[in-house]
Symmetry: C2
Subunit: 132 residues, 2 copies
């Protein structure tokens, strides 16, 4: 039974912006977008981002220092994330593939290290950009 997460004011504001966005958003671009709502400082953004990531509501695209809303219900609270990234238009798509996720979650390092979490980023040119 999934507990409904109650978000704080700032967390909700930041999440709303990220969910409405078509692509990944950078922290400072979020900041500029919420200054009309009384949020003035980077700290306020980064604090909200940190919590939203913990909750699995958003993910950080490490190669871009940008943030996207989680669209897949089964990504196990950010323990197993995979993205497809277009190097031309910057589009990011969360990959929700049970086989891939299981394969990687079960992968064990030869040197005996047990993994708790992984992040996978694929790069290429998306269909839309190929046409151009």
């Amino acid at each position: 039974m999934a507990q409904v997460q109650i978000l704080s004011r700032n967390q909700q504001i930041v999440l709303d912006i990220i969910e409405k966005a078509k692509g990944p958003l950078k922290a400072y671009s979020i900041l500029f977008n919420v200054q009309k709502k009384g949020i003035n400082a980077p700290q306020q953004i980064y604090r909200a981002l940190d919590k939203l990531i913990e909750m699995g509501k958003i993910h950080k695209i490490e190669s871009k220092n940008a943030f996207v809303a989680c669209r897949s219900s089964d990504c196990e609270i950010s323990k197993a994330t995979a993205f497809s990234i277009c190097e031309s238009c910057e589009m990011v798509d969360e990959i929700s593939d049970t086989k891939l996720s299981k394969y990687l979650s079960g992968f064990n390092h030869k040197k005996g290290m047990k993994f708790k979490r992984f992040n996978l980023e694929f790069f290429g040119i998306c269909k839309k950009c190929k046409k151009d």
Copy 2:
């Protein structure tokens, strides 16, 4: 027949430092380490890093904004990289697993995007840290 890459002076200096290091190095820590050799500006470091990455001599650990030397001869010039990262001691180990690499290189997005490159980062606690 693998062409022997000739590195420029700055590229060689930066690569030497990264190869000697036990773990991932940050750009500015490299900079501080080479100031005695007459390199004074971040640009000089970042330019060398960019070229070394292109050549596949080093890799960037995106989640840490840090750089490691490539230890695996078959990582296809940074087209297919995988790392194991200890969240306690920050150790990074390049994963060289043919099956994993083949599996991911052959992975195709449902939405028809063809991938050219991927980067995978696993996180956990390494053997050494578990003992403590």
